[in-house]
């Protein structure tokens, strides 16, 4: 039971590039069963840009699931952006899950924007000033919600969709000093506890596409500048002899 997952992040749309991405989505139904968008949909996070995103991804022949990124929070209009996307038929995950039926196969997608903090042994901890505690607590609470959402999913395949990275590997090429703002190992730990077929993220424009969590879950950084193509396609259930 194979499922083909198309994924892209960091499209950073705005009025100035309206319509340019849409034409790249022609024929997506021949290549993939679902499209996942890994945050940073906009540049400034304004409702106007949210409308451009909604128009760019509405009425596609495959289901579309998205999470927000840090840029989509810049204008404090994230709730309005989420509402605009949902009105356009796009499923937006906010630390919860959704199930996509695809022929006989069922795909569970869990996720949200995620957050930073750094990676095991070299990370921030919930200690000291309230601002520092709040920073790390935010990531920990997200990780706990994802863990729960994954646990309650009973689907053939499970994919985690995030903006921030769970591992360092896919950040290679980014300055080491900013790693704590690019992701957190807490996200990987939560996913490894339940297992998943794939972890999709964006945010690290200068990173690389491929990595793996300590527990062996494949990680793919699909930030548009990393992919240099409209979207990547990952075929889950590869051991199935039926072609994808």
């Amino acid at each position: 039971m194979k499922i083909r997952v198309a994924a892209v992040g960091d499209v950073h749309l705005g009025e100035d590039i309206r319509g340019r991405y849409r034409r790249r989505l022609d024929g997506i139904e021949e290549r993939a069963d679902v499209l996942l968008i890994a945050g940073d949909l906009t540049r400034h996070g304004t409702p106007e840009e949210g409308r451009v995103v909604a128009d760019e991804f509405r009425d596609l022949p495959v289901p579309v699931v998205a999470v927000l990124g840090n840029h989509d929070y810049q204008s404090d209009a994230e709730d309005e952006i989420v509402a605009l996307l949902r009105d356009a038929g796009i499923r937006v995950l906010q630390d919860d899950s959704t199930i996509i039926e695809c022929g006989d196969a069922r795909l569970g997608v869990v996720g949200g924007k995620g957050f930073g903090g750094g990676f095991a042994g070299k990370c921030a901890s919930e200690f000291g000033e309230p601002q520092m505690k709040a920073f790390v607590r935010h990531t920990r609470e997200i990780a706990e919600l994802w863990h729960k959402a994954l646990k309650s999913l009973d689907t053939d395949h499970k994919v985690v969709l995030s903006h921030y990275s769970p591992v360092k590997e896919t950040l290679a090429g980014e300055p080491l000093e900013i790693y704590p703002f690019l992701g957190s190992y807490l996200l990987a730990e939560a996913v490894d506890a339940e297992g998943a077929d794939l972890f999709i993220h964006g945010h690290a424009h200068a990173g690389v596409e491929k990595g793996v969590t300590p527990g062996g879950v494949r990680v793919r950084n699909v930030a548009l500048p990393v992919l240099s193509k409209a979207y990547a396609v990952y075929c889950l259930g590869g051991e199935d002899p039926e072609p994808c």
């Binding site: 200068a206 500048p225 409209a230 990952y234 889950l236």
Partner: protein, 93 residues
């Protein structure tokens, strides 16, 4: 002194290290750019910008904001526009 200037206007006598940091901050915070991933390097009176943006217009704005923040430096805009090719081959996991 200009009160309209969106950022600190600096002279090129400032330590290059801080000027580069200021330009980088301006690129992230100026509403014309909001670009977080641009590398800024200063060598003498030359300012180099590197990274990727989504359109030609955004590429030009990056140089504009950098030039305003560091007047007196010659801006070399080595920023490129993200290339978006067709989806290509799938990966089987």
């Amino acid at each position: 002194m200009s009160h309209e200037a969106p950022h600190h206007v600096v002279s090129h006598y400032d330590a290059p290290h801080y000027v580069a940091a200021r330009v980088q901050r301006a690129l992230a915070a100026d509403e014309r750019t909001y670009e977080l991933g641009i590398r800024v390097d200063i060598r003498g009176d030359q300012l180099f910008l590197r990274g990727q943006v989504e359109s030609v217009e955004r590429r030009l704005l990056v140089a504009t904001v950098a030039g305003e923040t560091a007047p007196g430096l010659k801006v070399h805009n080595e920023v490129t526009v993200v290339e978006v090719r067709d989806p290509g081959e799938e990966e089987t996991l």
